[in-house]
Every structure is written in C-alpha cells, then in structure tokens.
Amino acid sequence: MKGVSRNLYGVLFVVVTALLLVAPGLSAQEELAENQVLDVGVAASDLNTLDPHLAVGTQDRGAVDMVFNGLVRFKPGDMDPEKIEPDLAKSWEVSSDGLEWTFHLREGVMFHPFPGQPDGYEMTSEDVVYSIKRAANPETSAYSGSYDNVESVEAIDDYTVKLTLDKPVPSLLGLVSDYSGGFVVSKKAVESMGEDFTTHPVGTGPFAYENYVPGQKTVFTRNENYFRGEPVLQEVVWRYMPDISSRLSGLRTGELDLIEGLRKQAWIEQVKNYKGVEPVVFGPGETVTLHFNLTREPLKNIKVRKAIVYALDRATINNFYGEAITTPLYSPIPANYLGGLTKEEVMAEGLAYEQDLEKAEELLNEAGYEEGFELDVVITERESYKKTLVVAQEMLKKVGIKINIKQIDHSAYHSQIRDDVNPLVIYVCARFPTANSILTQFYHSASVVTKPTAITNFSHYGDVDADGNGTIDNVDKLIEIARTADDPDFQKALWGETQKEILSDVAAYPITTLGFSFAKKPSLEWGYDLNSTLALTPQIKWNTKLLAE
C-alpha cells in the first residue's frame, strides 16, 4: 500500500512538474488579443446582397456564412460532402426509397434581433419550411434550379420538418446545408423588412448584422446567444476594397487582419517576405477547363481535337499559374469532388493526353490539316481565364495552329460564350463538390447553350457525333441514372464511366484547379483546419479568434 502511494506521489510529482513547465507556453499561446475586432478586406466595391438565397458574389458568400446556418453543415474548412454534420437539425432520418427526409430541429435556437423583434425569436420548423420554399422559388433565389425535385416540404410539429422528393437527389443534404439555398432565414424578418433584408440579413449564425455603410463596410457583431457558444470575436468588419495594393497596404499597416489576395504565385511569394503577413491558399479552388465547340469546323473532327490536346502541355500551363496555387486537373471532375477521377485512374485509361508533338502533327495530317488552321477566340481580361489561352496559343503555334485572340471584358465574355460565338471556351468555376453538378451543367445535352434550358454546355456534347463513328455520343442517361442511384459505389462507377466517355471523345480538356488566395495576420486563428470551403472565403466561426501579437 505504501509502495502504491509512493508511486502515486511520484507520478503526480512528474505530472505537476510537467504541467508547470508547459503551462506558461500554453497560456502564452492562448492569450487573446485585447481587441477582438476582425477587419476583412474583400475584393469588391460594395456588397451585392446579403440575402443568402441570392448571394452569388465572393464578397457576399463569406458574409452570409457568418450570419446564417443550414439544417446541416459541411465540417468547417472541409467541403467533403461525406463529412456533413448536424447544424440547425440535430438529427435526421431518410425513408428506404430515399424520397422522404425527416429533420429534427435543435430547440432553443434564437434568431438575431431585428426591428420589431428586439430580442429575436426562436427558430422553428415554420422558418425552415419557409426558407426551403423560398430557396426553391426562382423569384427569390439564385439557386432554385437545385430544388426541382423537391415535391413538398412541411412542418410536422414545431421541431420536425419533412421534405418529400419526387425522385431521389444525390447528396440531398447539400441542399439543406450551409451552402447557397440551404441557409435558414427568419420568416418574420423577411416578411416585415421586404427589400431591406438584402442589406440587413437576419439569421441564427455566430455573427449578427450590425450596420452597413454603402461602399465602405458592413459590420457584424457577435451573437451572444449563438447555440454553439458565445463567439470570441466581438465584431467582424467586412470592408469593400476593390484594389489589391490598398488591401495589402491595409494588412501591412495593421488596419486589416484578413484580405482577399491575388491568385498568382508571384503575389504569394511577395507577401511571404512581409513581416506580419501570412499567405493562405485553400480549396476547393476553381477548375480551369478548355471546352471544344463540337459543332465548329475543324473541331468537329476528333483527330483535330486530339491533335490540339497532344500539342498542349498541362504541366507548363500549370506552371504559368504557379505551383503554390494549382493542382493539375486530369478529369472533368476534380479528384476532391465526390465522384471525381484521380490522375492515376485517368492515366490507367490512357486518357491523360500527355504532350506529344509528333502525334499531334500526325493527327493533323490524317485530318487533312497539314498546313494547320486558324481559330478566332474571344477571351475575358481575367487572368485566370486568359493565361491558359495565351500559353496554349504559343504551344499550338508549334503544330501550325494559329489562335487569334480578341480580348473583351468579363461580363461581355460570359454573355458571348453563352451566345455560342467561341470555337474554344475556357471556363473557370467552382461547383457543389459532387460529380453531378459539373456533369449536368457542362455535359448533359439539356444544358447546351443554344437551348432554352441552357446552362453551360459549351461543347454541344450530347447532341453531336463526337467521335465520328456515325452515332450521337451522349452521356445524359449515365448522368441521370447516377443522379438517382442509391448505391454509392454504383453511383461513383457511373460517374467515372461518364468522365471517361467525355475524355475519350475529347469534348473538353481539363487543365488545372486554382486555389483561393488570401493573406492574414499570423495572430488570426480560424478555430478549425482550413483546407477547403464552399464559402469561397475563409469561414469566420464562433471560435475564430485574434491572439495577442
């Protein structure tokens, strides 16, 4: 017994000594800055709208992310749809046919105060039902298209919501998550405030709207009643600063804590050298893909398209963007999306099309273009788009293909490519991270840009004979079956198959994924690991904090 207690004392002594030694380090590390006001510089002249169902701009997405919650949420800093976790709903069940989803809401969650409700009020199923209906309505939502298969949504009781679908939807949870239409708004606030709601959002999130100064800033203050706990930051100030040099100056002078940066290797290298500035690069990033217009001569001919992709060198194009912000892309769907093919999977099928100039010339000869040809292509002034085309222009010159580039402004570019003017379309985008979103929007025949149901199928893939064997090549069925498949492995296999079809028909050439680039003070701590987020800006959470410098 004596021996036992002596041992116990011994152990205790060691533990206490160790704690004493470590403790100063711990407390120093955890010491908070006195001023918990976070100043963020975003690359825009002003907000567009803080209505979460209409917010599409990068400057607004990060702001609504702090104000609102969904029924479920992506793990902070991680957009893997397989790691979705409870948020306003504490649990949910789904019927065996995947058509009925029942969500059980967290009780006691309060909406932020707003005019007429100085203490806020409790969020119930009424608000959830209202929000989902609102998100599905094209009049009030930019994301209504994603809710086409929602047949009904009803409140069973104050804390239970039932959602019924007419057919299964892949990753339905995404539709009620902290992304786009999934945010839950206060019914009373929307109804009583009308259009003011766009600059005075009312939600349940860790930060509540405080005030808005047009053209300057929106101030959010901490929501002391936040259901996960009282936020550490007292205020978050969202400042609208379109010029990068002034954002960077603001960070260097200490007026700002976090800024949107430039997606350039050189910029990241530059800011690394500044004291008190830390670059931040995160995903999901935007995919850069070259789409071939399969209705145009000479691109109709698969040999010509193959010649083009064999003449291009993916690695070189990636290097022009810089390795700090790029991940080479080998398949139409990035590998970090659910259902995306990895580089190895694409290589195994021989569909990576690594550069081979001889082969390219051979293919051009076979196609009857020994002398090469010319293409007129319009492009936006945005670097992320233009760079690919300019580098490709140089590479294609070597095999006798001349690209004549005409530069127009970004808004004009987006309208012209939708009018089907370009033989080659460079498209940069981030989508909901499942294969379904990109496959449907870019490769389903209903999305062909010339149709009334058009989205962004620039290649006309699905309507034309892409490989020249006399039949129309179409992946609509594969996309549709995959969309409603209940077996995840089967679904992934179908998505894989679809991507292989697209690659072997050379409807598009995937090039790179560009990460988002920000810079922050070293003293800013997210409170989670930031790898990727659909908010397009680093998420400011209740446990995000500024440490003493």
């Binding site: 100043d39 510089g41 825009a44 002249s45 002003d46 907000l47 567009n48 709208t49 209409l54 599409v56 701009g57 094209p138 009049e139 930019a142 994301y143 209504s144 298209g145 259009e195 766009t198 600059t199 100064v213 047009p214 053209g215 300057q216 800033k217 400042r239 609208y240 600063m241 379109p242 010029d243 040099s245 002034s246 100056s249 603001g250 260097r252 002078t253 007026e255 700002l256 127009i408 402004d409 970004h410 808004s411 004009a412 987006h414 309208s415 012209q416 939708r418 985008c429 989508r431 929007q441 999305s447 840009v449 149709k451 009334p452 149901t453 058009a454 989205i455 962004t456």
Partner: protein, 313 residues
C-alpha cells in the same frame, strides 16, 4: 447676373439630355447582362430571361428610356438593377466623398501651383525653374493610382502616420479629414503640376507684353509689376485652365477612390460598369455631366471677378 446663371442652367438641360441619351444607349449596346450578374454563372437561360423581364429589360428601348426620363422628372433615379436599392440615395451618400476629394485637390493645386508657377516664371531658366518644371512634368506623367500607392507606401506602411482604408466615419469631421489627407494629397499634387505649368506659361507670355516693359521703364518695383500688371492679366487664362483641369481631376478621382477604397462616385461607377447595372451607370454618368456643367459655370462666373471687362448680359 442672376438671369445669366438661370439662362446658363437652362441651356445645360439639353446638354444633359444629350449626355443621358448617349449614355443610355451606350451602356445597353455593350455586351454583358445585369441578370447574369445577379444570378451568377450557374443560372439557366430561363431563369435569366425571367429576371430580365422582372428588371424591365425586355421592354422596348424607347419605353425604358421614357420610363427613366419620367422618373427623372419626378426626381426618382430608379433602383439599382443589381442591389435593388434606390440609386438616388446611393449617389447622395457617395457624392460628398467625391466632392471633398476633388475640392481638396483643386484647393491644394491652386494654393501650391499658382505661387510655384509665378516663382518659376520670374526665375526663368534658373535652378528653381528647372526644379519646378521637373516637378510639374513628373506630376503630369504620373497616374493618380500610382502616386496614391507611392504615398501609401511612404506615409502608411513606412511611417505609420495615415490610414489607407476607407473614407472615415460619416459625421466625425476629424476622422473624415484624417482619411482625406492621402487621397487629397494625391490629387492635389497632380493638380499642382497642371497649375504650375499653366501659370508659368501664361505669366511668361504676359512678361513679354509691351505694357510690362512700360511699367518697368517707368521705374516700378519688380514686385509691383508682377502682382499688379502681370498676375492680374494672367489670372483669366489660369482660371479657365483651373476649370478644365478640375474636370480632368474628377476623372482622376475615380482611380484615387479605388486605390484608397473611398466610397465615392468613382467606386460606385466601376462596380456598376462591371455588373452592367444600367440604371446606376446612366444616373452616375449624368451626375458627372452635371458636375462638369456646374464647374464650367463657376469658371465663367469667376472671370467677372478678376476681369472687370467681362459682363454677364
């Protein structure tokens, strides 16, 4: 004089109308679409068409034009197509920031530029003249946004004296002035360069006149020759140039506002342009045109103050 002012203002109406019509057409001819700006790139063509209808962009052009003019007559500039907020209140909020900035620029430019111009002219081909000319050449060639960044590097990052972000809190005069120093200095220095150059050349021109030789030959002190005879006569061309360059300065204020994130008209305009916010853009450009008309009127009125021969009939 009152009747002159009224007449000038009445004449301004057709001018503004022409500007408005041109702008109205030009912004709509440019490719691009506000509905896509609102709904984002994932939206289907159908949703975009619906929104265009809601925005009233499917109506015939003459109808849109007529509706806009009717609103204008009633003092209503309409609502931004993108944010749905009234254009009028946004313009009113931004206007003071732009006015403060340009007025500071013009004042600083005149206070520094006129004396510097006189000095360089009087000491023609001396060291001071060379320095002054180098300074004004530099000021003429340097774009406002670049000068702004240089000043920012020096006074904000290196010396930590002045802020770089925003326009200050509305209603707090000290804070507003504090935020006005660097952008004001940016425009002020550029204006100084213009004014120095112009003052110098108009004074040199007058120094060669016979009546200056007469004044000198009758034994007047050089100081009196310069102030009484030369400067008084040089003021009319200087004032007219001041007017012209004030207008140029409004152009430079756009980039200065962007660099210093000042919430003025320029910042509003750049955003409206990117998003093809037709209503916002046509109103803003009309406001700019109005400013030009007013500056020209003030310039013309100021002639009378320095030159008694000018009469407003």
């Amino acid at each position: 004089m009152t009747s002159y002012i009224i007449r000038r203002l009445l004449v301004a109406i057709p001018t503004l109308l022409v500007v408005l019509t041109l702008v109205f057409l030009l912004v709509r001819v440019a490719p691009g679409d506000p509905a896509t700006a609102v709904l984002g790139q994932q939206a289907s063509r159908e949703a975009i068409e619906n929104l265009r209808t809601k925005m009233g962009l499917d109506k015939p052009l003459w109808k849109q034009y007529f509706d806009y003019l009717t609103g204008l007559v009633h003092g209503d500039l309409g609502k931004s197509l993108i944010s749905r907020r009234p254009v009028g209140s946004q313009v009113l909020h931004a206007l003071p920031f732009t006015l403060q900035l340009t007025i500071t620029g013009v004042l600083l430019g005149s206070l520094l530029g006129i004396p510097l111009g006189i000095l360089t002219a009087v000491h023609r081909n001396a060291m001071l003249d060379y320095l002054g000319r180098i300074f004004s050449l530099a000021g003429l060639s340097i774009p406002a946004f670049y000068l702004g960044i240089l000043l920012m590097m020096a006074f904000s990052i290196q010396l930590s004296l002045l802020p770089t972000v925003g326009g200050g809190e509305q209603g707090d005069i000290v804070d507003l002035l504090y935020h006005l120093v660097l952008p004001g200095l940016t425009l002020g220095l550029i204006m100084t360069a213009y004014v120095t150059r112009m003052t110098r050349s108009s004074i040199l021109n007058i120094l060669n006149q016979d009546y200056v030789s007469t004044a000198r030959s009758k034994g007047l002190a050089e100081r009196i020759v310069i102030y009484k005879h030369v400067l008084k006569n040089a003021l009319v061309p200087i004032l007219s140039v001041l007017g012209v360059y004030s207008i140029v300065l409004i152009g430079s204020s756009v980039m200065t506002e962007i660099v210093f994130s000042r919430p003025g008209l320029g910042k509003l305009m750049v955003m409206a342009m990117k998003q093809r916010d037709y209503l916002m853009l046509q109103s803003l450009l009309t406001v700019y045109a109005g400013l030009v008309v007013i500056i020209n009127l003030f310039t013309d009125l100021s002639y009378g103050m320095v030159d008694p021969r000018v009469r407003y009939e």
